[in-house]
């Protein structure tokens, strides 16, 4: 399923029907109007540690966002960025690429384009207050190092976990996390 979605870029034609200027404008605005400064030089993609291992080309994502190509929300490539900020660091035009990707991801997530694994992680946050909750292995490791088995986080304070869950509920994180991923359909 994933590979079928990932091939969106490889469609033969992208049409102006797919261009949504308001989408481009919104992302541009969110990154202090820096998106529009891109000159397609490719510094971002050539330095991208993820791009050397995946088909993701960060420059092409920026390009699609500039075109207002909203179908990019369903691209798996969007999730290949590790948000290391190297592209932003090296960009000669100071395009805040990484933040743009995060804003685009937020939109994608809201529209149901969340990877099933991301939804699982979100569930973990809701259930345990941790994206990576403690397990037996880590308990043992902590004990070996002379640390308490549980770290001084919500793991140690069940009341605090309830508070975290309340915040997640008020911010409607629950709703997002409970959605059905369009990728797994």
């Amino acid at each position: 399923m994933l590979s079928a979605q990932a091939s969106v870029l490889k469609r033969d034609v992208i049409s102006t029907r797919d261009f949504d200027k308001s989408f481009a404008d919104e992302i541009n605005r969110l990154v202090e109007n820096s998106l529009i400064k891109c000159m397609d030089c490719g510094t971002c993609s050539s330095g991208c540690p993820s791009g050397r291992r995946t088909a993701m080309r960060i420059r092409q994502l920026v390009r699609l966002a500039r075109l207002g190509y909203k179908p990019m929300l369903s691209m798996v490539d969007l999730w290949m960025c590790t948000t290391c900020y190297r592209c932003f660091d090296r960009c000669p035009r100071k395009v805040n690429i990484t933040d743009a990707i995060i804003f685009i991801r937020n939109k994608a997530f809201k529209e149901g384009y969340a990877l099933p694994k991301h939804i699982k992680v979100a569930q973990l946050v809701i259930d345990y207050g941790h994206a990576v909750p403690i397990n037996n292995e880590i308990r043992a490791l902590r004990k070996e190092l002379g640390l308490p088995e549980l770290p001084p986080t919500v793991h140690s304070f069940p009341d605090a976990l309830k508070e975290v869950q309340k915040i997640l509920s008020i911010t409607k994180f629950n709703e997002l996390a409970n959605q059905q991923s369009k990728f797994s359909q």
Binding site: C41, S46, K94
Partner: protein, 700 residues
């Protein structure tokens, strides 16, 4: 203004303003939005307006004649022209007034085009109301205009050219050949500039030195050119036509009249230092000739490194070394030489101080300074050059043993890059990279050359053809993508250049023996210091700012000071020469006039109110105000003094003066405040509020 007593204006009958208002249609620029006839009819009802007319083009000859005739017919003594910005046609109409026998400063422009019809094209009713207001305000001010005097000052018949590179040389020669006396001042020990460092030039592959050195010799030998090398400009006083320039000639410690440039001194000198002419890629001695064709061909001693000048024997206290002096057959060495201060008077100054190159250490991802085989394009130019560190053989630094079999050129290092404060294009890098890649392929035919680019900008005569030759004839591989990093492969001990080929979307890695960074241009530090001395403004890119980007590209905010070459903006050799000769043309035109006229609307100091605090001096952007020491009632006091030749009438001093001691003529408080008042209470009431009546008008 507070609660001041208001004295009604009672002008004497013959001094009573008689104003003519002339409304221009500007074709459809104004007339398509508002009705000029109606506006003129309204203007006729305003205080002291005797006549109001409209016409299609006031700036045209019949339009101007209409104004002249009306001035005579109605005995007008003030004129309001409702048209475009004064920036455009104020000079036209001032001349028009003068030819009708009226002082040209009795003109007021009401800008109903840029300020009204252009910005309110789609709301004609609002535009008409606004146009009425603009004319009301103009008429109000016109009531208070005063005739102003202009002065004439003679121009010193001598031009100073600062900078002896290709631009400065051509500016100096152009003026000298036309018969003008030229002082050519060069900071470094030789003229020739950056061009002397280049191997060949694009797009013809001319040998740079072969075409340059005859020009250098011609300038040095020219009877009208006096050469000051190794000389810096310390101070400039005065203004257009009459600059007093203070120069400091640094000591060479070698007598130019005796030195035969035999070179024995350098042979014997024990001190080796990096050679700046070779960008530090080779060594020179502490006594040296910058390069074989240097002009003047005179050795000099580098005082920072010379043992005689820097070290003393701890026991005897005597200088150590001095070997050059012992061996010089001409007895030319003079360790006692001191810097010499020279004061000269010139009528015009041309600045041709050139550029520096970007220091790629600011972009650490390219490893410059860390990997010896990552070099700048100017360093590569020295490697290509027969007088360079390798005698023109292409070899890799630092040991000069290996011939690079794969070379990578990277465009836009320090250009089009906001992270290093350089959003601009340096204009020459695309072409010099193509040239360097071609020269590489000519000398290493079995080598591979890669060029990484963002866009190839080949807009110049023969440039596109030259670039295509690099691709088609020499087989140089151009890859569209900016390199993000250069890393060292730890296993193979080679440089890996990493980029995206943006045309295929593939990440490309090139193992390179030598990487050349096409560094962009930067303003020279010495130029920035000169700009401070001359109070010249800089553009956003840090280069010297021209007066107008299109119309006045060699003039500056300081009259009589002209700029050319890369001091103004990055450019190639032909463009530098064209601009240099243009600058010389303007300087000569100033000298040929023999005299300069001041403007009438200058600042005026009321010495009775001036406390000599100096705030105005610090405020003035044109260096037009200085403080004079005077004796008043037996006490020494300081008073502000305006240099009317430098003053542009901007009014900054008048606004800054805490004592209200400076009056900006033609933009007096009364004139400006009356306009603001007129906005609220109308022109008649506003004029009543003025305390003092306008002085009598006399036809100039």
């Amino acid at each position: 203004m507070g609660m001041e007593a208001i004295v009604e204006t009672k002008p004497v009958e013959e001094d009573k303003p008689r104003i003519g208002v002339f409304v221009c249609h500007c074709g459809v620029n104004i007339a398509a939005v508002i009705d000029p006839k109606k506006l003129a009819e309204y203007a006729a009802t305003l205080p002291n307006v005797v006549v109001a007319k409209d016409y299609t083009y006031m700036c045209s000859k019949p339009g101007q004649q209409l104004i002249i005739d009306s001035i005579k017919q109605y005995n007008l003594n003030r004129v309001v022209i409702a048209a475009c910005s004064p920036r455009l046609h104020e000079p036209t109409f001032r001349k028009c007034l003068a030819s009708a026998g009226l002082n040209p400063y009795l003109l007021e422009m009401a800008n109903i085009r840029e300020h009204c019809t252009w910005v309110h094209t789609h709301e004609p009713d609002v535009a008409f109301e606004k146009a009425k207001k603009i004319v009301e305000l103009a008429v109000t001010r016109a009531n208070l205009l005063e005739p102003l005097e202009e002065q004439e000052v003679s121009v010193i018949q001598r031009i100073m050219v600062i900078g002896g590179g290709i631009a400065g040389l051509f500016a100096a020669l152009a003026a000298a050949n036309a018969g003008f006396e030229v002082y050519l001042v060069e900071l470094s020990p030789t003229i020739g500039g950056r061009m002397a460092q280049l191997d060949k030039t694009f797009p013809t592959l001319d040998c740079s030195k072969c075409v340059l050195t005859p020009i250098m010799n011609e300038a040095a030998a020219h009877p009208n050119i006096k050469l000051f090398t190794y000389t810096e400009v310390v101070d400039v006083q005065g203004s257009i036509g009459n600059f007093k320039v203070k120069l400091r000639k640094k000591p060479r410690y070698v007598d130019p009249s005796k030195c035969t440039a035999c070179g024995i001194c350098a042979e014997k000198c024990p001190v080796k230092v990096p050679n700046e002419f070779d960008m530090g890629l080779s060594m020179r001695k502490a006594i040296y000739l910058p390069f074989p064709q240097a002009v003047p061909t005179v050795y000099l001693i580098d005082p920072e490194h010379c043992l005689y000048l820097t070290k003393r024997d701890p026991k005897t206290g005597k200088p150590i070394c001095g070997v050059c002096q012992r061996f010089c057959p001409a007895g030319a060495i003079n360790f006692d030489e001191k810097p010499e201060e020279i004061e000269v008077d010139v009528g015009a100054i041309i600045i041709a101080t050139g550029f520096d190159v970007f220091d790629p250490r600011e972009k650490p991802e390219y490893g410059y300074g860390k990997y010896p085989n990552v070099i700048t394009s100017l360093e590569f130019e020295r490697i290509l050059c027969a007088t360079g560190p390798t005698g023109g053989k292409i070899l890799c630094p630092p040991d000069w043993k290996k011939e690079p079999k794969r070379i990578v050129f990277i465009h836009c290092i320090g250009s089009r890059d906001e992270t290093v404060n350089a959003p601009f294009c340096s204009r020459v890098c695309c072409m010099y990279t193509a040239k360097q890649a071609i020269l590489y392929k000519e000398r290493v035919p079995d080598g591979e050359a890669y060029v990484f680019y963002i866009d190839v900008r080949a807009a110049g005569k023969g440039f596109e053809e030259f670039y295509r030759r690099a691709v088609e004839e020499y087989g140089i591989t151009y890859i569209r993508g900016k390199v993000s990093e250069i890393i060292k492969d730890p296993v193979r001990d080679t440089l890996v250049v990493r980029a995206e080929d943006t045309l295929t979307g593939k990440i490309v890695e090139v193992e390179a023996d030598l990487v050349v960074l096409a560094v962009g241009m930067r303003p020279r530090k010495s130029t920035l210091e000169l700009a401070k001395i001359l109070k010249l403004p800089l553009s956003a890119d840090g280069f010297l700012q021209e007066l107008h980007m299109k119309l006045y590209p060699v003039q500056t905010a300081v009259d009589g000071v002209y700029i050319c070459g890369c001091a103004q903006s990055p450019k190639d050799i032909p463009d530098s020469i064209a601009q240099a000769v243009a600058a010389a043309g303007y300087a000569m035109s100033l000298l040929s006039q023999g005299k300069v006229r001041t403007i009438g609307n200058v600042a005026e100091v009321n010495e009775d109110l001036c406390s000599g605090c100096g705030i105005c001096e610090a405020t003035c952007a044109f260096g037009a105000i200085s403080l004079e020491t005077k004796v008043v009632e037996g006490r020494e006091v300081r008073r502000a003094k305006v240099d009317v030749l430098r003053c542009k009438g901007c009014g900054a001093c008048a606004a800054a003066c805490p004592a209200g001691a400076i009056k900006a003529k033609h933009f007096t408080d009364d004139q400006l405040l009356s306009m603001i008042r007129a906005l609220f209470v109308g022109p008649s009431e506003a004029l009543k509020a003025i305390k003092v009546a306008a002085p009598p008008i006399k036809a100039s």
